[in-house]
Protein backbone atom coordinates (compact mmCIF):
# COMPACT_ATOMS: atom_id res chain seq x y z
CA UNK A 1 0.00 0.00 0.00
CA UNK A 2 1.91 3.04 1.14
CA UNK A 3 1.09 6.69 1.43
CA UNK A 4 2.88 9.63 -0.12
CA UNK A 5 2.13 13.30 0.18
CA UNK A 6 3.38 16.66 -0.88
CA UNK A 7 1.37 19.42 0.71
CA UNK A 8 1.56 23.19 0.54
CA UNK A 9 -0.93 25.48 2.19
CA UNK A 10 -0.93 29.06 3.39
CA UNK A 11 -3.38 29.99 6.13
CA UNK A 12 -3.34 33.36 7.94
CA UNK A 13 0.40 33.80 8.01
CA UNK A 14 1.14 30.12 8.61
CA UNK A 15 2.98 28.36 5.83
CA UNK A 16 2.82 24.61 5.53
CA UNK A 17 5.20 22.88 3.14
CA UNK A 18 5.80 19.19 3.75
CA UNK A 19 6.51 16.10 1.68
CA UNK A 20 6.99 12.54 2.84
CA UNK A 21 6.36 8.96 1.89
CA UNK A 22 5.70 5.91 4.05
CA UNK A 23 4.91 2.22 3.65
CA UNK A 24 2.50 0.03 5.56
CA UNK A 25 3.88 1.07 8.89
CA UNK A 26 2.98 3.17 11.88
CA UNK A 27 4.32 6.62 11.28
CA UNK A 28 4.23 9.29 13.93
CA UNK A 29 3.93 12.96 13.06
CA UNK A 30 5.64 14.52 16.02
CA UNK A 31 6.02 18.15 17.06
CA UNK A 32 4.66 21.05 19.08
CA UNK A 33 1.01 22.05 18.88
CA UNK A 34 0.39 24.24 15.87
CA UNK A 35 3.21 22.78 13.80
CA UNK A 36 0.87 21.61 11.06
CA UNK A 37 0.43 17.95 12.01
CA UNK A 38 -3.38 17.94 12.27
CA UNK A 39 -3.57 20.06 9.14
CA UNK A 40 -1.63 17.37 7.29
CA UNK A 41 -4.07 14.70 8.43
CA UNK A 42 -7.06 16.77 7.41
CA UNK A 43 -5.60 17.25 3.95
CA UNK A 44 -4.94 13.54 3.56
CA UNK A 45 -8.55 12.88 4.55
CA UNK A 46 -9.95 15.47 2.16
CA UNK A 47 -11.39 17.66 4.91
CA UNK A 48 -9.05 20.46 3.93
CA UNK A 49 -7.81 21.29 0.46
CA UNK A 50 -4.11 22.05 -0.10
CA UNK A 51 -3.18 25.06 -2.21
CA UNK A 52 -0.80 22.83 -4.07
CA UNK A 53 0.56 19.29 -4.11
CA UNK A 54 -0.66 15.70 -4.16
CA UNK A 55 -1.91 12.87 -1.95
CA UNK A 56 -1.44 9.28 -3.09
CA UNK A 57 -2.52 6.20 -1.23
CA UNK A 58 -1.22 3.02 -2.78
CA UNK A 59 -1.73 3.50 -6.48
CA UNK A 60 -4.71 5.81 -6.08
CA UNK A 61 -4.31 9.54 -6.43
CA UNK A 62 -6.67 11.22 -3.99
CA UNK A 63 -5.53 14.72 -4.75
CA UNK A 64 -3.32 16.31 -7.37
CA UNK A 65 -3.42 20.04 -7.95
CA UNK A 66 -1.56 19.82 -11.26
CA UNK A 67 -4.07 17.34 -12.68
CA UNK A 68 -7.05 18.96 -10.93
CA UNK A 69 -7.92 15.76 -9.14
CA UNK A 70 -9.75 16.01 -5.83
CA UNK A 71 -11.53 12.94 -4.58
CA UNK A 72 -14.18 13.95 -2.03
CA UNK A 73 -13.61 12.89 1.51
CA UNK A 74 -16.53 10.46 1.34
CA UNK A 75 -14.80 8.42 -1.35
CA UNK A 76 -11.26 8.25 -0.01
CA UNK A 77 -12.06 5.16 2.07
CA UNK A 78 -9.91 6.17 5.01
CA UNK A 79 -10.26 5.68 8.73
CA UNK A 80 -10.01 8.78 10.89
CA UNK A 81 -10.05 9.01 14.66
CA UNK A 82 -10.48 12.59 15.88
CA UNK A 83 -8.91 14.20 18.90
CA UNK A 84 -12.19 14.30 20.78
CA UNK A 85 -13.20 10.99 19.18
CA UNK A 86 -16.28 12.57 17.57
CA UNK A 87 -18.65 9.79 18.58
CA UNK A 88 -22.24 10.70 17.68
CA UNK A 89 -23.83 11.48 21.05
CA UNK A 90 -27.33 10.71 19.84
CA UNK A 91 -26.47 7.17 18.66
CA UNK A 92 -25.68 4.04 20.65
CA UNK A 93 -22.21 2.51 20.51
CA UNK A 94 -23.48 -0.11 18.08
CA UNK A 95 -25.12 2.50 15.82
CA UNK A 96 -21.92 4.53 15.88
CA UNK A 97 -19.98 1.49 14.73
CA UNK A 98 -22.56 0.58 12.09
CA UNK A 99 -22.44 4.17 10.79
CA UNK A 100 -18.96 3.29 9.61
CA UNK A 101 -20.27 0.49 7.42
CA UNK A 102 -21.61 2.60 4.60
CA UNK A 103 -22.19 0.69 1.37
CA UNK A 104 -21.67 -2.67 2.98
CA UNK A 105 -24.22 -5.44 2.48
CA UNK A 106 -26.50 -6.33 5.38
CA UNK A 107 -24.92 -9.60 6.34
CA UNK A 108 -21.41 -8.37 5.70
CA UNK A 109 -22.20 -5.43 7.98
CA UNK A 110 -23.42 -7.60 10.82
CA UNK A 111 -20.51 -9.96 10.52
CA UNK A 112 -17.92 -7.21 10.50
CA UNK A 113 -19.58 -5.40 13.41
CA UNK A 114 -19.46 -8.60 15.43
CA UNK A 115 -15.80 -8.96 14.54
CA UNK A 116 -15.01 -5.41 15.70
CA UNK A 117 -17.00 -5.75 18.88
CA UNK A 118 -15.14 -8.91 19.75
CA UNK A 119 -11.71 -7.61 18.78
CA UNK A 120 -12.11 -4.41 20.76
CA UNK A 121 -13.85 -5.96 23.78
CA UNK A 122 -16.95 -3.88 23.37
CA UNK A 123 -19.35 -6.70 24.05
CA UNK A 124 -22.12 -5.61 26.40
CA UNK A 125 -21.68 -1.97 25.60
CA UNK A 126 -23.56 -1.94 22.29
CA UNK A 127 -26.72 -0.26 23.57
CA UNK A 128 -24.97 2.35 25.64
CA UNK A 129 -24.67 5.95 24.58
CA UNK A 130 -21.25 7.64 24.43
CA UNK A 131 -22.10 9.68 27.50
CA UNK A 132 -22.39 6.44 29.46
CA UNK A 133 -19.02 5.06 28.39
CA UNK A 134 -15.64 5.47 30.03
CA UNK A 135 -12.75 7.17 28.25
CA UNK A 136 -11.14 3.90 27.29
CA UNK A 137 -14.41 2.39 26.09
CA UNK A 138 -15.09 5.42 23.90
CA UNK A 139 -11.64 5.02 22.37
CA UNK A 140 -12.33 1.48 21.38
CA UNK A 141 -15.70 2.35 19.86
CA UNK A 142 -14.09 5.15 17.84
CA UNK A 143 -11.44 2.81 16.51
CA UNK A 144 -13.98 0.09 15.72
CA UNK A 145 -16.05 2.60 13.78
CA UNK A 146 -13.08 3.82 11.79
CA UNK A 147 -11.97 0.28 10.91
CA UNK A 148 -15.32 -1.13 9.84
CA UNK A 149 -14.63 -0.65 6.13
CA UNK A 150 -11.04 -1.86 6.23
CA UNK A 151 -9.65 1.56 5.27
CA UNK A 152 -6.73 2.12 2.93
CA UNK A 153 -5.04 4.14 5.66
CA UNK A 154 -5.72 4.96 9.31
CA UNK A 155 -5.34 8.56 10.45
CA UNK A 156 -5.16 9.20 14.18
CA UNK A 157 -5.23 12.79 15.45
CA UNK A 158 -3.94 12.65 19.05
CA UNK A 159 -6.71 10.21 19.96
CA UNK A 160 -5.35 9.54 23.44
CA UNK A 161 -4.88 13.13 24.55
CA UNK A 162 -8.03 13.15 26.63
CA UNK A 163 -7.01 10.14 28.69
CA UNK A 164 -5.17 10.00 32.01
CA UNK A 165 -1.59 8.83 31.93
CA UNK A 166 -2.02 5.23 33.09
CA UNK A 167 -4.66 4.74 30.43
CA UNK A 168 -2.44 6.39 27.83
CA UNK A 169 0.27 3.87 28.48
CA UNK A 170 -2.25 1.07 28.13
CA UNK A 171 -3.25 2.54 24.78
CA UNK A 172 0.23 2.07 23.40
CA UNK A 173 -0.26 -1.67 23.70
CA UNK A 174 -3.65 -1.22 22.11
CA UNK A 175 -2.06 0.59 19.20
CA UNK A 176 0.47 -2.15 18.68
CA UNK A 177 -2.45 -4.55 18.52
CA UNK A 178 -4.08 -2.38 15.85
CA UNK A 179 -0.88 -2.41 13.84
CA UNK A 180 -1.02 -6.20 13.72
CA UNK A 181 -4.54 -6.37 12.36
CA UNK A 182 -4.42 -3.41 9.98
CA UNK A 183 -2.47 -3.94 6.81
CA UNK A 184 -2.31 -0.28 5.82
CA UNK A 185 -0.32 2.82 6.66
CA UNK A 186 -1.15 4.31 10.04
CA UNK A 187 -0.42 7.98 10.57
CA UNK A 188 -0.41 8.95 14.22
CA UNK A 189 -0.19 12.55 15.40
CA UNK A 190 1.17 13.29 18.86
CA UNK A 191 3.27 15.78 20.79
CA UNK A 192 4.17 13.22 23.43
CA UNK A 193 7.75 11.98 22.93
CA UNK A 194 7.38 8.87 25.01
CA UNK A 195 4.33 7.86 23.08
CA UNK A 196 6.07 8.44 19.75
CA UNK A 197 9.05 6.45 20.87
CA UNK A 198 6.91 3.59 22.11
CA UNK A 199 4.85 2.95 18.99
CA UNK A 200 6.47 4.48 15.92
CA UNK A 201 8.18 2.61 13.14
CA UNK A 202 9.02 5.94 11.56
CA UNK A 203 9.05 9.37 13.13
CA UNK A 204 8.52 12.58 11.16
CA UNK A 205 9.50 15.65 13.14
CA UNK A 206 7.36 18.72 12.39
CA UNK A 207 8.12 22.29 13.29
CA UNK A 208 6.35 25.41 12.16
CA UNK A 209 4.99 23.94 8.95
CA UNK A 210 8.11 22.13 7.80
CA UNK A 211 9.79 18.79 8.41
CA UNK A 212 13.01 18.85 10.40
CA UNK A 213 13.89 15.17 10.29
CA UNK A 214 12.59 11.74 9.39
CA UNK A 215 13.77 8.40 10.66
CA UNK A 216 13.24 5.65 13.20
CA UNK A 217 12.71 6.97 16.73
CA UNK A 218 16.03 5.49 17.79
CA UNK A 219 17.80 7.19 14.92
CA UNK A 220 16.21 10.58 15.55
CA UNK A 221 16.94 10.36 19.27
CA UNK A 222 20.56 9.41 18.81
CA UNK A 223 21.28 11.53 15.73
CA UNK A 224 19.27 14.72 15.82
CA UNK A 225 20.02 16.77 12.71
CA UNK A 226 19.63 20.10 14.48
CA UNK A 227 19.53 21.66 17.89
CA UNK A 228 15.82 22.16 17.49
CA UNK A 229 15.22 18.48 16.92
CA UNK A 230 17.39 17.63 19.87
CA UNK A 231 15.40 19.92 22.09
CA UNK A 232 12.12 18.53 20.81
CA UNK A 233 12.96 14.90 21.40
CA UNK A 234 14.85 15.37 24.60
CA UNK A 235 11.95 17.07 26.28
CA UNK A 236 10.61 14.92 29.12
CA UNK A 237 7.29 16.70 29.19
CA UNK A 238 4.95 17.17 26.25
CA UNK A 239 5.80 20.64 24.98
CA UNK A 240 2.73 22.86 24.80
CA UNK A 241 4.05 26.20 23.71
CA UNK A 242 4.83 26.93 20.05
CA UNK A 243 8.28 28.27 19.47
Amino acid sequence: MGLSVHLRKKVKGFNLDVAWEINNELTVLFGYSGAGKSMTLQMIAGLLIPDDGFVRIGSTTMFDSSKRINVPSQQRHLGYVFQDLALFPHMTALDNILYGSNNMGKSERRERAGEMIGAFHIKGLEEKYPAELSGGQKQRVAFARALMRKPYALLLDEPFSALDNPLRIEMRQFLRGIKKRVDAPIVFVTHDVAEAYAVADTMIVYSNGTILQTGTPKHVFENPWSVEVAVLVNATESPQIAY
Partner: protein, 222 residues
Protein backbone atom coordinates in the same frame (compact mmCIF):
# COMPACT_ATOMS: atom_id res chain seq x y z
CA UNK B 1 -68.45 34.39 26.99
CA UNK B 2 -67.95 31.76 24.33
CA UNK B 3 -69.94 33.40 21.59
CA UNK B 4 -69.80 31.82 18.17
CA UNK B 5 -67.79 34.75 16.84
CA UNK B 6 -65.21 34.28 19.58
CA UNK B 7 -65.04 30.57 18.84
CA UNK B 8 -64.58 31.38 15.17
CA UNK B 9 -61.70 33.75 15.88
CA UNK B 10 -60.12 31.15 18.13
CA UNK B 11 -60.34 28.44 15.50
CA UNK B 12 -59.17 30.80 12.75
CA UNK B 13 -56.16 31.99 14.74
CA UNK B 14 -55.00 28.45 15.34
CA UNK B 15 -55.63 27.43 11.76
CA UNK B 16 -53.66 30.39 10.42
CA UNK B 17 -50.80 29.94 12.88
CA UNK B 18 -50.58 26.19 12.26
CA UNK B 19 -50.47 26.51 8.47
CA UNK B 20 -47.98 29.37 8.65
CA UNK B 21 -45.76 27.43 11.06
CA UNK B 22 -45.75 24.41 8.76
CA UNK B 23 -44.30 26.47 5.93
CA UNK B 24 -42.02 28.27 8.34
CA UNK B 25 -40.46 25.00 9.45
CA UNK B 26 -39.95 23.68 5.93
CA UNK B 27 -38.51 26.86 4.47
CA UNK B 28 -36.87 28.09 7.66
CA UNK B 29 -34.81 24.96 8.25
CA UNK B 30 -33.73 24.86 4.60
CA UNK B 31 -32.64 28.50 4.53
CA UNK B 32 -30.97 28.19 7.92
CA UNK B 33 -29.04 25.16 6.71
CA UNK B 34 -27.62 26.98 3.72
CA UNK B 35 -26.76 30.05 5.77
CA UNK B 36 -25.02 27.88 8.36
CA UNK B 37 -23.17 25.43 6.16
CA UNK B 38 -22.43 27.13 2.88
CA UNK B 39 -20.39 30.11 1.92
CA UNK B 40 -21.42 32.12 -1.07
CA UNK B 41 -21.36 35.61 -2.38
CA UNK B 42 -23.95 37.87 -0.83
CA UNK B 43 -24.60 35.46 2.04
CA UNK B 44 -24.72 38.15 4.71
CA UNK B 45 -26.98 40.27 2.50
CA UNK B 46 -29.38 37.35 2.15
CA UNK B 47 -29.29 36.83 5.90
CA UNK B 48 -30.15 40.49 6.44
CA UNK B 49 -33.06 40.35 3.98
CA UNK B 50 -34.55 37.35 5.75
CA UNK B 51 -34.10 39.00 9.16
CA UNK B 52 -35.62 42.33 8.08
CA UNK B 53 -39.26 41.49 8.97
CA UNK B 54 -38.07 40.90 12.50
CA UNK B 55 -37.03 44.50 13.01
CA UNK B 56 -39.30 46.31 10.58
CA UNK B 57 -42.66 47.51 11.91
CA UNK B 58 -45.29 44.98 10.84
CA UNK B 59 -47.07 47.76 8.94
CA UNK B 60 -43.99 48.27 6.78
CA UNK B 61 -43.89 44.53 6.12
CA UNK B 62 -47.62 44.70 5.32
CA UNK B 63 -46.94 47.56 2.94
CA UNK B 64 -44.37 45.56 0.98
CA UNK B 65 -46.65 42.52 0.92
CA UNK B 66 -49.44 44.61 -0.57
CA UNK B 67 -47.10 45.91 -3.26
CA UNK B 68 -46.26 42.30 -4.10
CA UNK B 69 -49.54 40.48 -3.60
CA UNK B 70 -52.25 43.12 -3.88
CA UNK B 71 -54.62 42.68 -6.78
CA UNK B 72 -52.50 45.12 -8.77
CA UNK B 73 -49.28 43.96 -7.19
CA UNK B 74 -46.18 42.60 -8.88
CA UNK B 75 -47.15 39.03 -8.16
CA UNK B 76 -50.84 39.54 -7.44
CA UNK B 77 -51.65 41.03 -10.81
CA UNK B 78 -50.55 38.06 -12.93
CA UNK B 79 -52.17 35.66 -10.48
CA UNK B 80 -55.44 37.58 -10.74
CA UNK B 81 -55.21 37.71 -14.51
CA UNK B 82 -54.54 33.97 -14.59
CA UNK B 83 -57.05 32.71 -12.06
CA UNK B 84 -59.39 35.55 -11.20
CA UNK B 85 -58.37 35.09 -7.56
CA UNK B 86 -56.71 37.57 -5.25
CA UNK B 87 -55.17 36.69 -1.89
CA UNK B 88 -56.30 39.98 -0.37
CA UNK B 89 -59.02 39.74 2.27
CA UNK B 90 -58.77 35.98 2.59
CA UNK B 91 -57.49 33.87 5.48
CA UNK B 92 -54.63 32.84 3.16
CA UNK B 93 -53.41 36.44 3.38
CA UNK B 94 -53.35 36.09 7.16
CA UNK B 95 -51.17 33.00 6.71
CA UNK B 96 -48.85 34.91 4.38
CA UNK B 97 -48.51 37.81 6.82
CA UNK B 98 -47.81 35.49 9.76
CA UNK B 99 -45.36 33.48 7.69
CA UNK B 100 -43.30 36.52 6.70
CA UNK B 101 -43.06 38.06 10.16
CA UNK B 102 -42.32 34.83 12.03
CA UNK B 103 -39.91 33.22 9.54
CA UNK B 104 -36.89 35.23 10.76
CA UNK B 105 -37.35 33.80 14.25
CA UNK B 106 -37.16 30.28 12.90
CA UNK B 107 -34.16 30.98 10.72
CA UNK B 108 -32.18 32.62 13.50
CA UNK B 109 -32.80 29.89 16.07
CA UNK B 110 -32.24 27.07 13.61
CA UNK B 111 -29.08 28.57 12.18
CA UNK B 112 -27.61 28.94 15.66
CA UNK B 113 -28.59 25.37 16.46
CA UNK B 114 -26.98 24.02 13.30
CA UNK B 115 -23.83 26.04 13.80
CA UNK B 116 -23.50 24.71 17.31
CA UNK B 117 -23.13 21.15 16.06
CA UNK B 118 -19.51 20.06 16.58
CA UNK B 119 -17.69 20.34 13.25
CA UNK B 120 -15.72 17.20 14.06
CA UNK B 121 -18.95 15.20 14.04
CA UNK B 122 -19.73 16.45 10.57
CA UNK B 123 -16.21 15.69 9.39
CA UNK B 124 -16.34 12.25 10.97
CA UNK B 125 -19.50 11.52 9.01
CA UNK B 126 -17.79 12.52 5.77
CA UNK B 127 -14.72 10.39 6.42
CA UNK B 128 -17.02 7.45 7.11
CA UNK B 129 -18.35 7.79 3.58
CA UNK B 130 -21.64 9.63 4.08
CA UNK B 131 -22.79 12.35 1.69
CA UNK B 132 -23.66 15.89 2.74
CA UNK B 133 -27.36 15.10 2.52
CA UNK B 134 -27.05 11.97 4.65
CA UNK B 135 -24.91 13.82 7.15
CA UNK B 136 -27.53 16.55 7.39
CA UNK B 137 -30.34 14.08 7.96
CA UNK B 138 -28.56 11.64 10.29
CA UNK B 139 -26.18 13.89 12.20
CA UNK B 140 -26.86 17.62 11.94
CA UNK B 141 -30.63 17.80 12.17
CA UNK B 142 -31.02 15.29 15.03
CA UNK B 143 -28.43 17.21 17.02
CA UNK B 144 -30.00 20.55 16.19
CA UNK B 145 -33.46 19.19 17.01
CA UNK B 146 -33.86 21.17 20.24
CA UNK B 147 -33.06 24.51 18.64
CA UNK B 148 -35.37 23.73 15.75
CA UNK B 149 -38.24 22.88 18.05
CA UNK B 150 -37.68 25.99 20.15
CA UNK B 151 -37.74 28.01 16.93
CA UNK B 152 -40.97 26.37 15.80
CA UNK B 153 -42.70 27.07 19.09
CA UNK B 154 -41.59 30.71 19.06
CA UNK B 155 -42.70 31.11 15.46
CA UNK B 156 -46.10 29.64 16.24
CA UNK B 157 -46.56 32.05 19.12
CA UNK B 158 -45.53 34.98 16.94
CA UNK B 159 -47.86 33.85 14.14
CA UNK B 160 -50.70 33.61 16.64
CA UNK B 161 -50.20 37.21 17.70
CA UNK B 162 -49.65 38.79 14.28
CA UNK B 163 -51.70 41.94 13.81
CA UNK B 164 -50.32 44.81 11.73
CA UNK B 165 -49.46 43.10 8.49
CA UNK B 166 -52.49 40.81 8.83
CA UNK B 167 -54.81 43.79 9.15
CA UNK B 168 -53.39 45.32 6.01
CA UNK B 169 -53.52 42.17 3.90
CA UNK B 170 -56.44 40.20 5.17
CA UNK B 171 -58.54 43.02 6.51
CA UNK B 172 -60.70 42.60 9.56
CA UNK B 173 -63.73 40.77 8.21
CA UNK B 174 -65.89 39.24 10.91
CA UNK B 175 -66.47 35.57 10.26
CA UNK B 176 -63.78 35.45 7.61
CA UNK B 177 -60.44 36.91 8.58
CA UNK B 178 -60.78 38.21 12.11
CA UNK B 179 -58.11 36.34 13.98
CA UNK B 180 -58.00 36.88 17.74
CA UNK B 181 -55.74 39.94 17.68
CA UNK B 182 -57.95 41.58 15.05
CA UNK B 183 -61.16 40.67 16.85
CA UNK B 184 -59.82 42.14 20.08
CA UNK B 185 -58.95 45.33 18.22
CA UNK B 186 -62.51 45.64 16.86
CA UNK B 187 -64.14 44.89 20.17
CA UNK B 188 -61.95 47.37 21.99
CA UNK B 189 -62.59 49.94 19.27
CA UNK B 190 -66.33 49.67 19.68
CA UNK B 191 -66.22 49.62 23.43
CA UNK B 192 -67.13 45.98 23.88
CA UNK B 193 -64.41 45.33 26.43
CA UNK B 194 -66.04 42.45 28.25
CA UNK B 195 -66.28 40.44 25.05
CA UNK B 196 -62.60 40.98 24.40
CA UNK B 197 -61.68 39.79 27.90
CA UNK B 198 -61.97 36.10 27.17
CA UNK B 199 -59.71 36.25 24.13
CA UNK B 200 -57.18 38.50 25.82
CA UNK B 201 -56.81 36.12 28.75
CA UNK B 202 -56.56 33.14 26.44
CA UNK B 203 -53.90 34.72 24.23
CA UNK B 204 -51.85 35.85 27.21
CA UNK B 205 -52.00 32.44 28.81
CA UNK B 206 -51.07 30.62 25.60
CA UNK B 207 -48.19 32.97 24.77
CA UNK B 208 -46.78 32.47 28.25
CA UNK B 209 -47.08 28.73 27.87
CA UNK B 210 -45.32 28.75 24.51
CA UNK B 211 -42.46 30.81 25.89
CA UNK B 212 -42.02 28.31 28.67
CA UNK B 213 -41.93 25.44 26.21
CA UNK B 214 -39.49 27.22 23.93
CA UNK B 215 -37.15 27.83 26.84
CA UNK B 216 -37.34 24.26 28.00
CA UNK B 217 -36.57 23.03 24.51
CA UNK B 218 -33.51 25.19 24.09
CA UNK B 219 -32.19 24.35 27.54
CA UNK B 220 -32.80 20.72 26.88
CA UNK B 221 -34.90 20.16 29.93
CA UNK B 222 -37.71 18.62 27.91
Amino acid sequence: MLESSVLFSLRLSFQVAAVATFFIIVIGVTVAYFLAQRNFRGKELLDMLFTLPLVLPPTVTGYYLIILFGRNGLIGKPIYAWTGWSIMFTWHAAVLASFVVALPLMIKTTRAAIESVDKDLINASYTLGHSEFETTVRVILPLAKRGIMAGAVLSFARALGEFGATLMLAGNIPGKTDTMPLAIYSLAGSGEWSQANGMVILLTFMSGLFLLFANKFSKGTI
